[in-house]
């Protein structure tokens, strides 16, 4: 699944001449594990009340989510070809017009409060679904996330899982060179959350972390990742937050994936 996500993502940003491929490759394994092993969903009934909710708060990495939803049966993979076209529902930040997408984002710092609302709704209604929110590391600069964690911890929203895609690069430079987040584990614990750190590209570790639940506390999974993961010339390069691969770069990238996922 992770390889398919990466292949779709690279083709989509190439065709649309779009940005953010590095961010999409960073979360491909996280999404593969969530949709392959963790989330309860019915692609024929995307609004099933018992479904687990997934929110992509870093909406700029939408091609990875569009890809995994296609591979999970929400629509045909051929629909992805309209990504970035005029009037396409597959817009360049994640859109709730797309079946299976809970929430449109693009402005950072919106996903976690919204997810807190969903988790709170589940608690009020005594439903058993879990709410997973995938955040970027740079996004943690937004104060709304910390407001949301205060509330989630105060109300013991243990059905809430915040996943941090900690690839240590943001828009202009490194996270540590922008607004340092460390000690990040301590910060989340001090806010009343339980925290698990994993290798964000190790599927076994991700699966174990996403299945964990601590009664009375929201869970934060810090996934240590590499921006541009899987493509040698994209890994850990800020420029691939913006650049779109040309034809030659796309072909090299796709061939590299054969070895990466072999």
């Amino acid at each position: 699944m992770a390889e398919k996500i990466r292949r779709h993502a690279i083709r989509m940003v190439h065709l649309a001449r779009a940005s953010h491929i590095g961010s999409a490759l960073s979360i491909s394994d996280i999404l593969a594990v969530l949709y392959g092993d963790i989330l309860n969903y019915d692609h024929k009934n995307p609004l099933d009340s018992e479904r687990d909710r997934f929110i992509l708060s870093k909406g700029h990495a939408c091609v990875a989510l569009y890809a995994v939803l296609a591979e999970s049966g929400f629509y045909e993979a051929s629909d992805l070809e309209t990504y970035g076209n005029d009037y396409s529902k597959f817009m360049n930040h994640v859109s709730h017009s797309v079946p299976g997408v809970e929430f449109s984002t693009g402005s950072l710092g919106h996903g976690l409060p919204y997810g807190v609302g969903k988790a709170l709704a589940g608690k009020i209604s005594q439903l058993t679904f879990r709410t997973y929110v995938l955040l970027s590391d740079g996004e943690l600069d937004e104060g709304s996330n910390w407001e949301a964690l205060l509330f989630a911890a105060h109300h013991g929203l243990d059905a809430l899982v915040a996943i941090v895609d900690y690839n240590k690069l943001q828009s202009l430079t490194t996270v540590s060179g922008t607004l340092g987040l460390e000690p990040l584990v301590d910060k989340f614990r001090a806010f009343g959350c339980d925290v698990i750190e994993v290798d964000g590209h190790d599927h076994a570790q991700l699966k174990l972390a996403f299945s964990a639940r601590y009664p009375g506390k929201p869970l934060v999974v810090i996934a240590h990742t590499t921006k541009g993961k899987g493509i040698s010339f994209m890994e850990n390069k800020v420029e691939w937050h913006y650049r779109s691969p040309n034809q030659e770069e796309m072909m090299i990238a796709l061939s590299e994936l054969e070895f990466y996922h072999a």
Partner: protein, 294 residues
């Protein structure tokens, strides 16, 4: 008005178990009866408006009608993008309840003055503004919003506003409610707490003798098309609002008449002068300083 709001909300929440009240650590001596009666549907979000509004939208996305209650600028400008993206764009049933509309909290200073809130709300497609003019309009607006859940903004005063209507009126978005039937072919058209001021003008100021009085508590971007026909029945209309002219109610009416130059010439706008921004004083004092004298 705030008491009328909470009493109405409690009576409807007793029947509708999807009504939730979220407050931004405000509402002392107002919201307690709701919290006591429905503890599972009352949440104090603390002093954290971005999360308050985003969370309210998330709750609403799961089928709840969420009322978010706070003072004036806090559930509006402080979390404007959450309103824009999370509430309105996703068509979530969140009703923002701003207490202290206009200059109701005049002595508390500019931070607590809501004189630009219509401007923010009316630029959002799909946002319904509810600006009742008295406690009875609060009840009918609240009932309308509950019966028609949608992104909405309920702007109320504080306490002690006079009752203008004889009975709870019927309201429809974009429709005018007649309160005084004059004989001059001229009318004052109000939204929000300016209703009380306009009524005084007609009763006491000679230049408004013979004027009719109308209130339009429900309006928004979607309800402009109705206005040219309504305006055409009058030879002169003066709008009255406790909000700045820029982005306000009168400007909204004028926009609705673009393409009808003969109708535009019949409109004058009574709104607050920006000179009040930064002034401190009682509501009546500041309204007068801003041009709403009488």
């Amino acid at each position: 008005m705030r008491n009328s709001f909470i009493e109405g909300l409690i009576s409807r929440a007793a029947v509708l178990n999807n009504i939730v009240l979220v407050v931004g650590d405000l509402g002392y001596s107002v919201v307690e009866p709701f919290a006591k009666r429905f503890p599972d549907r009352f949440f104090n979000a603390g002093v954290a408006e971005q999360n308050m509004m985003g969370m309210a939208a998330g709750l609403a996305s799961e089928g709840f009608h969420v009322f978010v209650y706070s003072i004036a600028n806090f559930p509006t400008f402080r979390c404007a993008e959450q309103i824009r993206n999370d509430v309105v764009y996703h068509r979530n049933a969140v009703t923002i309840v701003a207490v202290g509309g206009g200059l109701a909290y005049g002595n508390l200073g500019y931070s607590h003055h809501a004189v630009q809130d219509y401007a923010l709300m009316r630029c959002m497609p799909g946002m319904l503004i509810a600006a009742p003019g008295d406690p009875l309009e609060v009840r009918c607006c609240l009932d309308y919003l509950i019966d028609n859940p949608q992104p909405s903004y309920l702007r109320i005063g504080k306490a002690g506003e006079p009752v203008i209507h004889q009975r709870v009126p019927l309201v429809e978005p974009g429709r005018w409610i007649e309160i005084i039937k004059g004989n001059s072919g001229k009318t004052l058209l109000c939204t929000g707490a300016s209703l009380e001021i306009a009524k005084r003008w007609i009763e006491h100021l000679p230049q408004y003798a013979g004027y009719s009085l109308h209130s339009m508590p429900l309006w928004g971007m979607m309800h402009k098309a109705l206005q040219p026909t309504l305006v055409d029945a009058w030879e002169h209309i003066s709008t009255v609002e406790d909000h700045l002219r820029d982005g306000g109610f009168g400007s909204w009416l004028l926009e609705s008449l673009s393409g009808y130059p003969n109708l535009i010439s019949r409109i004058s706008v009574k709104a607050l002068d920006p000179v009040v921004c930064g002034m401190v004083g009682k509501q009546q004092t500041l309204n007068a300083a801003g041009g709403l004298i009488g």
